[in-house]
């Protein structure tokens, strides 16, 4: 379904080439959910942008993204990407209220999306829009169709956005922090809804989130990013309860301290600046377990159990 191999993203600035994201690889089958987490600026959203083909004209991309029958998205033409977005890829935004056009009624927007994605016209598009609204949990679709985005709450707007995302019967759904601007109840509601529609359409879902609890609960695989690199990826439970990379340990250490109401003792260093990186591991400043090798070269991926870790501690097997 999605097969990303050695994806690197960089940009050219003042003749220098700045690497934003390096060596990302994962694969995802139908019905599976991949969680992507990491701090702000670690490259989480970039992955979704790359999967949407948004970066093709602005960034330098190497590697390969194969999805939904497109062998390499990075080399796909504009028309092909448009076609993919219309029929295969759904996107759920971070800021639902700001993501709906304020001048158009929900009905006008939803019908437009339905028309574009399914090719239905007028009456049948309107019926389809109403059906979609029922599917995302509105009991009175007619009233919602007539209202404007500012008349709905954040959670309701997000459900409308989900309806738009699933209008074309997607094979992939990308959710970029779909719940970060919502309260807990709406958050729960949206995640349940996403789970429900995933069951119905059996799409592969990429869930970018800061919320580790959410990631643990809804994802099959969890990928942790740090400073533009994938540092650890594996089965969600394993990454969460027996993290291997020191950064993941710190991250989940913080999370469990918060859950249990304890003061966190984790010290975290600022990630290295984009244009001033040393040759060694990127987490060297915040890492308590560093060894001599860390300063010399960036670690490659090592497979341990179901996980992959990029850390020198695990080079050549389980922790010594």
């Amino acid at each position: 379904m999605i097969e990303v191999t050695d994806l690197c993203i960089s940009i050219r600035k003042n003749k220098a080439v700045l690497s934003l994201l390096k060596d990302v690889r994962f694969s995802l089958g139908p019905g599976e959910t991949l969680g992507i987490t990491g701090e702000s600026g670690s490259g989480k959203s970039l992955v979704t942008y790359a999967l949407l083909g948004l970066l093709n004209r602005t960034a330098i991309l190497t590697g390969n993204i194969a999805l939904c029958g497109c062998r390499n998205l990075l080399k796909a033409g504009r028309q092909e990407i448009h076609q993919l977005r219309r029929q295969k890829i759904g996107y759920v935004p971070q800021n639902p209220q700001g993501s709906l056009t304020p001048t158009l009624s929900i009905g006008a927007q939803l019908k437009e999306v339905v028309a574009v994605k399914t090719g239905l016209r007028r009456k049948s598009a309107a019926n389809c829009a109403a059906d979609l609204l029922v599917k995302v949990g509105f009991s009175e679709p007619g009233q919602i169709l007539r209202s404007f985005p500012h008349q709905l709450s954040g959670g309701m707007c997000q459900r409308v956005a989900v309806a738009m995302a699933i209008a074309g019967g997607p094979e992939i759904l990308l959710a970029d922090e779909p719940t970060s601007s919502l309260d807990l109840l709406s958050k729960n509601e949206i995640m349940t809804l996403l789970g429900k529609v995933q069951e119905e359409y059996n799409f592969a879902m990429v869930l970018v989130t800061h919320d580790l609890g959410l990631a643990l609960k809804y994802c099959d695989t969890l990928a942790v990013f740090y400073s533009g690199r994938l540092v650890e990826m594996g089965e969600a439970g394993e990454v969460c309860f027996s993290p291997r990379h020191p950064y993941t340990k710190n991250l989940f250490g913080c999370f469990f301290c918060e859950v249990k109401g304890r003061e966190s003792t984790v010290f975290d260093a600022e990630p290295p600046v984009l244009y001033d990186r040393l040759p060694g591991c990127r987490y060297i400043a915040g890492c308590h377990e560093r060894i001599a090798a860390c300063e010399l070269k960036e670690p490659a991926f090592t497979r341990i159990g179901s996980s992959q870790v990029a850390c020198w501690l695990y080079e050549g097997g389980e922790n010594k």
């Binding site: 800021n95 700001g98 304020p102 574009v116």
Partner: protein, 278 residues
Amino acid sequence: MLIRALKNKLVLVCLILIGLYVVVSIGGTFFFQFEPNSQDLLQANTGPDAAHWLGTDYLGRDLLARIIYGSRISLTIAFFATLINVTVGFLVGSVSGLLGGLADRLLIGLVDIFWCVPPFLIVVMLTVVLEPGVKNIFIALGLVLWIPTARLIRGEVRVIRNAPFVKFARLNGAGSFKLMMRHILPICLPVLLTTAAFSIPDAIMAEAFLSIVGLGVQAPNASLGVLISDGLQSFRVYPWQWLFPVLSLIVLVLCFNILGDALHKAYSYRAKGLLEHD
């Protein structure tokens, strides 16, 4: 939104006054007993009385008739100047904002060059070259007024183009044309409407200025500016000849300004904070 704006009494009064100006200035000369340009030297310089409600000027022409007729010319000039302003400004601004890149730089470079020249200098030069006359005045005014409008619309388009809802619409498969026609340009319209409402008093004032310096509407026709200019010459002896045209200009300009402000408040999505949360 418009209905809520109308509930404001002041706005309603302004709208009625503007309507009155338009109706009277278009129809007024048909049912009014005095011709604006017919002279009656025996009645020259009379003050306001029962026959001539606002008095007469130095040639004995009825001042009310002249003000009505003058308002018609002023409004005509303002309307067409605004039409040119809004059309050209919107076209240049939106093309520049939407295309970006080289086209944007060229267009906005042109706008910047115009921006550096004092607008009245351009208007004065144009009216001198084109010969003074109603048509040429509004062409000259329109050709100057569009410059700030284009910049305004360009800025607006550039902000909206990067708004999350445009990105989301694009990701949902909307093509460039649809994106432009449904998700970007309609959101600029309130700004354009407000600009138009403010452009009308600007044009009226600019035309009045041109008339006062002698480049405006030519005799015997008169706009409000010409009337003010004429009245000014005998201001000390016959103050009403100056006062009434000035009053009617003030009321007209004030009405459009208040209306523009109300439109801005009622329609501007930015003012309502709908574009703010990101």
